[in-house]
């Protein structure tokens, strides 16, 4: 780790003031990813601004019947909140699919959105990586790329976004509230994270002077028909090879509204509105589920070691849609896929 300074933010305005005044500084909350990146010399902040004392740790009702989750609510508190369990079990399940209980106790809601890829070349400072060092090249495209992306990649980066929670937030059409020097704004989830394009060093559209203050969930939680299916190399405490979040609103065997988002396949949670549109109004059948899977994967491309992810994703989508339609969601303590 490099030497760095340490200050505390007294309120949100102070946090914004401090970060705007010091381009080398970073906010710290749970620190579960940032401290690790600092130990690896991938992140070298001049100063850490401790935001853990800000009053952003409540979950409140919104006027439209949704919930507003403070950015500092720990992942475990969020997953086990009775309102989340009852109204947004998809979110609960996705959070519990990620990391370990110790990390979920530490990690914050806002920090989960801003965690960085676990691409091993990004972590290995002896190898080229456009995300770590723009212009140096991508080691993964021609290298070991079993964990890497199959959708939305660019010639500069094939890293994946590692979050499970964000895949559920994408499916639930969450919004991100951020405050910066220009005041507060609300960002729709698909516009929050970026695809790598020719600037893979930038993960999100959050501005340098902005702080995430909350996540807002709309009222619709798909509590009856949902699943979070995560497929990985070991049963627990591993990043997704492919994960699928599904929420269905079904009436008499017909899908009124479908939500479908994938993790482990792209630089951001991958939600496909064309596939959702195909499912909306269609009977909940295997044929229609397969058709949706083909649509999601129409532009999928493997890089050698990760070619298997295309077929794995196809089967994962089919299985997850089936689980959701039947009302038999995957539990993270299940030792087999339902």
């Amino acid at each position: 780790m490099n030497n760095f300074g340490y200050t505390r933010a007294s309120d949100v305005a102070d946090a914004v003031r401090q970060i705007a005044a010091d381009p080398g500084a970073k906010f710290i909350a749970g620190g579960t990813n940032l401290i690790d990146l600092m130990k690896e010399n991938v992140a070298r902040p001049s100063r850490l601004i401790d935001i853990t004392h800000l009053p952003l740790n409540n979950i409140e009702e919104t006027q439209d019947g949704g919930l507003r989750i403070g950015a500092l609510v720990p992942n475990s508190d969020l997953a086990y909140d009775p309102r989340i369990e009852a109204r947004y079990p998809l979110l609960s399940s996705a959070i519990l699919a990620g990391a370990s209980q110790q990390l979920r106790n530490m990690a914050s809601t806002g920090g989960n959105l801003l965690q960085r890829t676990r691409c091993f070349y990004f972590y290995d400072t002896t190898t080229p990586c456009n995300k770590r060092e723009p212009g140096s090249g991508c080691s993964a495209i021609e290298g070991i790329n079993r964990m890497h992306a199959i959708l939305g990649t660019s010639e500069h980066c094939i890293a994946t976004h590692p979050s499970d929670m964000c895949v559920a937030l994408a499916a639930l059409k969450a919004r991100v509230l951020a405050t910066g020097r220009d005041g507060q704004r609300s960002i729709a989830f698909p516009e929050f994270h970026r695809l790598p394009g020719d600037a893979p060093e930038i993960d999100s559209n959050l501005r340098a002077d902005e702080i995430i203050t909350a996540i807002e969930l709309p009222p619709k939680g798909f509590a009856a028909n949902y699943t979070y299916l995560k497929i990985r190399d070991r049963l627990s405490y591993a990043f997704a090879l492919v994960s699928v979040a599904v929420g269905l609103d079904i009436e008499g065997g017909t899908i009124k509204e479908a939500r479908l988002a994938l993790g482990g396949v792209a630089h951001k949670p991958w939600r496909d509105r064309q596939a959702e549109a195909q499912l909306n109004g269609a009977p909940a059948t295997r044929e229609n589920f397969l058709r949706a899977a083909e649509t999601v994967l129409r532009d999928a491309r493997g890089f050698g070691h990760n070619d298997f992810k295309i077929e794995l994703a196809r089967r994962g989508i089919l299985r997850a849609l089936t689980q959701a339609a039947r009302g038999t969601p995957q539990s993270q303590a299940d030792t087999r896929i339902k």
Partner: protein, 182 residues
């Protein structure tokens, strides 16, 4: 001794070494004050400055769980926690679980179930299990396995670790490994 190079001097001018901060931690019920740099992890603070080496450094990257302690009653990885951020917090380590000469029920159960071989992961396993019991989310063996997945045992003592935890959790004796065969 050689003088710092001009590059090193310039770097020091640009990024002066920050002053140490004095914090208070309530460790195993005892108030401890210490002056630390911002980059000192809670793990290093415990082991190097507070003379509590029971908490182990395994991977130092939040992947193995050997450094697990209870922070304000919740299990966390002390290797990914900056001590400076936890001024005023209550910390419980493996040294703080026993009541005098009376072992904590988890410590006793780990011995009775032979829930370790080398023992390096054990302080973290036991602190993690204490956190798991306090959370009250695990009932079945599968749920214990899932919620203990943040603690790796390189010797592979998992079946006995699960049995030991299950015994304390349920208050009923669990079958000991090997017993069925005898």
């Amino acid at each position: 001794m050689a003088r710092p190079s001009s590059t090193a001097r310039k770097r020091l001018e640009k990024h002066p070494v920050p002053a140490k901060t004095t914090i208070t931690l309530h460790v195993n019920g005892v108030e401890r004050k210490l002056a630390i740099a911002p980059w000192t992890t809670l793990l290093d603070a415990l082991r190097l400055y507070l003379d509590l080496p029971g908490t182990k450094k395994g991977c130092d990257h939040g992947q193995c769980g050997a450094c697990t302690v209870l922070l304000d009653g919740r299990r966390v990885y002390s290797c990914l926690t900056l001590a400076v951020m936890k001024d005023g917090a209550r910390v419980t380590t493996i040294e703080g679980l026993a009541q005098g000469s009376m072992l904590h029920p988890l410590q006793q159960a780990f011995i009775e179930h032979d829930a370790f071989q080398c023992g390096y992961c054990t302080p973290g396993q036991i602190c993690s299990a204490a956190g798991l019991i306090a959370e009250g989310k695990a009932r079945t063996a599968d749920e214990i396995r899932e919620l203990m997945s943040g603690n790796i045992c390189r010797c592979g003592a998992y079946p006995n670790i699960v049995a030991a935890i299950q015994e304390v959790l349920s208050g009923r004796p669990m079958e000991k490994s090997g017993e069925a065969k005898r």
